[in-house]
Symmetry: C2
Amino acid sequence: MSVTAPQGFRAAGVVAGLKDSGARDLALVVNDGPSRAAAGVFTRNRVKAAPVLWSEQVLKGGRVRAVVLNSGGANACTGPAGFQDTHATAEKVAEVLDDSAGEIAVCSTGLIGERLPMDALLSGVDAAGGELTRGDGGLAAADAIRTTDTVAKIAFRQGAGGYMIGGMAKGAGMLAPSLATMLCVITTDADLDAAALDRALRAATGVTLDRLDADGCMSTNDTVLLLASGASGVTPDEAAFTALLTEVAADLTRQLLVDAEGASKAITIEVVGAGSEDDAVTVGRSIARNNLLKCAIHGEDPNWGRVLSAVGTTDAVFEPAHLNVAINGVWVCRNGSVGDDRDKVDLRPRDVTITVDLSAGPHSATVWTTDLTAEYVHENSAYST
Amino acid sequence: MSVTAPQGFRAAGVVAGLKDSGARDLALVVNDGPSRAAAGVFTRNRVKAAPVLWSEQVLKGGRVRAVVLNSGGANACTGPAGFQDTHATAEKVAEVLDDSAGEIAVCSTGLIGERLPMDALLSGVDAAGGELTRGDGGLAAADAIRTTDTVAKIAFRQGAGGYMIGGMAKGAGMLAPSLATMLCVITTDADLDAAALDRALRAATGVTLDRLDADGCMSTNDTVLLLASGASGVTPDEAAFTALLTEVAADLTRQLLVDAEGASKAITIEVVGAGSEDDAVTVGRSIARNNLLKCAIHGEDPNWGRVLSAVGTTDAVFEPAHLNVAINGVWVCRNGSVGDDRDKVDLRPRDVTITVDLSAGPHSATVWTTDLTAEYVHENSAYST
């Protein structure tokens, strides 16, 4: 199902020959309308891949007919020629759909700094155009955007009145800080205009995909797109739509977290008692990026000192002597000092929750991360696909 | 030699019993004058260990009679009781030396969040007081401050007119961002006042110890102290003294870099063409903290795309299309895109140099880091000593 769960969407995933493995590597998601309203959020990295630069322009128009996505190459740091490749890809999709390239979004993922094999890619677009379906196409598309992902990530929910939201995502490394975790396409058959979609998408990703920080490395290609066909004829309440969209985004976020490269633990960092939500996120990210703590959790060592040392590097409002830390529910640090017996902490389960109470206000935020493992090092020492 | 290379200093390193291993774990460095002028720089982490809070107060007076240092426990996040332990340690040293506790600096390193075994520690101070020497004491002290350091780090240089600067340092993990890498004591028999020492120390550490960023994890205990006995009777030119001090600090920095936990590569990141020195340092640190790049260098993969993606996360002045990157002298990225053949890069040597040209101005800076290895993960998953 995934992106084809809502009415009005077809999709395909094919083998274009971009990956040496012979696996699917090109996906096409088509919105057959009647609406083409769309919104997008993109990486905040200042070094942006060609498809990000292209798709940012497309989304300014608030309309998307189709999204073409490829794995097997990021088309980042490829200069003007790389941008021409993205443009040519959009033109090819437009030709296949007999539509305008200006409403074709493009996403790429894979190695930075290499040109895409355009003959293979454009032939792949032709092939995908011939395989567009409402059913299996959504799964094939989700499969085709995988790089080091071990599984395809899909999610869908039904809203009041019968409209649907569906989505797919990929991302296993370079899962990072700023907005949108790698590639994600979410579709809906609700009837909402581009401005409403944009508000809903920013609200939903702001507390889900944007707060997943597996390795602190911000991608050049991160893109999250939301496409609405309006085919259900339902115009939902915006708050209810945003809540449902947030559920879908949270579901995909969780799937990305659990499948992150080399991870053996899924770590939820809850920051409470913060002076502001920004402070809570800042503290959460600082903890999420502390390699020593991530190693300790991997070793099932409730090393709360490493939590405090990470908190101490931030400019959030707090007093060191008022910090409290719980690991899996045991308050091992109280008032900045030794709390309950750390031997009571059971770190054997895959899921780990670290709660930090800043004792500075009523705000809170949750950030997710993984442990740091030898497998992560191995995978990223050898990665060149 | 180390801290006892200059005249007027005695030192000792003893087994106090703080470490389970039975290795030396307590060091004492005593300045016999005639001067006691001193300066210090401390971690910028807001969660500061008790000995840092204590020593910051001592250094405000600009005079230090002795420094007592222990491994086997950081005395961080130990609350008011931990601060009393530090105070009691300084009082004990004062008693042994028949001096004032207000001029005794204290440094600790080891696990955060546990009280020190004070009986053992105070007995150790007694023992150290009985073993103070000018010769071997300096080496024993350097040995006693090791935690996961595989070797003791010492350095010394002679200045014009015959004065000496000597130093010792420790630090293998939590080697980080802000000022002073773990514990470092530098001594000199030059005759300079506290203000001159402070200027020289900040200048020297600012371009050496402060730019070593092995794992991005800022310690709660980082301390660098500079003690002057004046025993040589030489008052050197301040610029010449600063240059010599910088040499000693750079020597110690290099030793810390090469011995960092699990490291198989010593990476020098040169940022040139920056709009300001701050920009150059910011970009250098961002690269130094990019786990994916650190894994790639470990795998001897000249993955310059990961360099650019790290640069892109900063707010430094640059245009993505004007970035150039060389790895070990091969300009693999020119104008933000593919440059010379990456297969020409030889990453087999231990020393790796990454040069980033921001094409934005005349400023530059160098930051040092290590690769990320399975050994780092292993060492920090198991560490609890």
